[in-house]
Amino acid sequence: MNEKQSLMTRIIVWFDPRWRSISFWGFIVNRITGLGLTLYLFMHLTMLGNLARGQEAYDGFIHFAHNPIFLVGEVLVVSAGIIHALNGIRIGLNSFGIGLRYQKVLYIGLTALAGIICLYFAYRMFTA
């Protein structure tokens, strides 16, 4: 129905939360975490590729990965996974009519649960 708009203009709508309902925020969060996890998968496979370049290269990378920035990155990856999974459970249930009337409450509840789990993981990772 909107063939004349560019793909970029159409996709920006996915990430524009202005004036939208809380359910739409769930939609945006799932897109961002999904894209983030896909990007991580590529990075992860690239890094694992270091194994093929021998022990020195791999050890060098592991040493480099002890940088605190990587730790923050790992917390973000774990958080994205938890948020995406829990929101995905809500969407999966809703897709077949389960809990549809309570989907907003489900979203708020599962997001709060995801927040608690993420904070626990972050605490464990930074204090280990």
């Binding site: 063939e3 359910s23 739409f24 769930g26 939609f27 969407i91 809703n94 009337r101």
Partner: protein, 254 residues
């Protein structure tokens, strides 16, 4: 004496191949008037070239759907007081995901054809078990017997404008059309099953539920899409086990 506000109507303008822009019109309104009244006043007293759609003025025809300050609204039932304040701005834009014909008017021809295609009727029989959405009517069970009624969907297109999937997938049937299919019911209808059980049909929805949030008639398209999925799965399972449920073939056999 009624209250008076001075409000700036920021109206989206686009004619033919021209670049889109906004024109500002400062007008005096009663805040209890509706946004459509303001647009009509702009047309009547400021610029007769402003193009917009409207008809009934009481939320039955679905013609006056527009985006008001970024949100899809039926402008004939949206009080100015609800969208701005005295001295404020009312930004009026055409619905998204439809081709703009001129200014605020969009071409809904394809949408109407699709509504016909899924068998959406303006009058429906309603069943108590079909009324399970959060907007189900209250009252004793005896009041929820089968009855004939006007369809809630007024084909205003607000849900399609608000849907992020309709924005990125032009071939997606969209919330109103899928809700129309759910109301019609698959009941072994091969044509309808093929139409909705495909890449751009019922499985394309990504549960943003913005359709339900903006619907002015409480159709709850989000719920109806999910219910249609159950209908589709049920139909497929029935056929997997040899269930003869093809209504079209049965009708031909008669």
């Amino acid at each position: 004496m009624s209250e008076k506000w001075t409000v700036t109507f920021q109206v989206f303008r686009k004619k033919g191949g021209e670049a889109a822009h906004y024109d500002d019109f400062k007008i005096e309104v009663d805040p209890n008037e509706y946004v459509l009244d303001g647009v009509e006043r702009v047309w009547a007293f400021h610029d007769r070239t402003v193009v917009f759609r409207h008809a009934c003025h009481h939320s039955t025809c679905g013609a006056c759907g527009m985006r008001v300050n970024g949100v899809e609204k039926l402008t004939c039932i949206t009080p100015i007081r609800d969208v701005t304040s005295n001295g404020g701005v009312v930004k009026v834009e055409p619905l998204r995901n439809f081709p703009v014909v001129s200014d605020l008017a969009v071409d809904m021809g394809k949408f109407y054809t699709q509504m016909d295609d899924v068998g959406h009727n303006s009058v429906n029989s309603d069943f108590k078990e079909a009324i399970q959405s959060e907007f189900r009517p209250a009252g004793p069970e005896s009041d929820k017997q089968e009855f004939m009624r006007l369809s809630d969907c007024i084909e205003c297109g607000l849900c399609i404008s608000a849907c992020p999937v309709s924005a990125s997938s032009p071939d997606y049937l969209g919330p109103a059309v899928l809700a129309g299919a759910q109301q019609h019911g698959i009941h072994g209808d091969e044509h309808l099953l093929r139409l909705v059980d495909c890449e751009d049909g019922v499985w394309r929805c990504h549960s943003a539920f913005e359709c339900t949030a903006v619907c002015p008639s409480f159709v709850d398209p989000g719920w109806r899409i999910m219910d249609l999925r159950k209908q589709v799965v049920g139909e497929r399972i029935k056929r997997l086990f040899g269930g003869s449920s093809n209504k079209n073939e049965a009708e031909v056999a008669k």
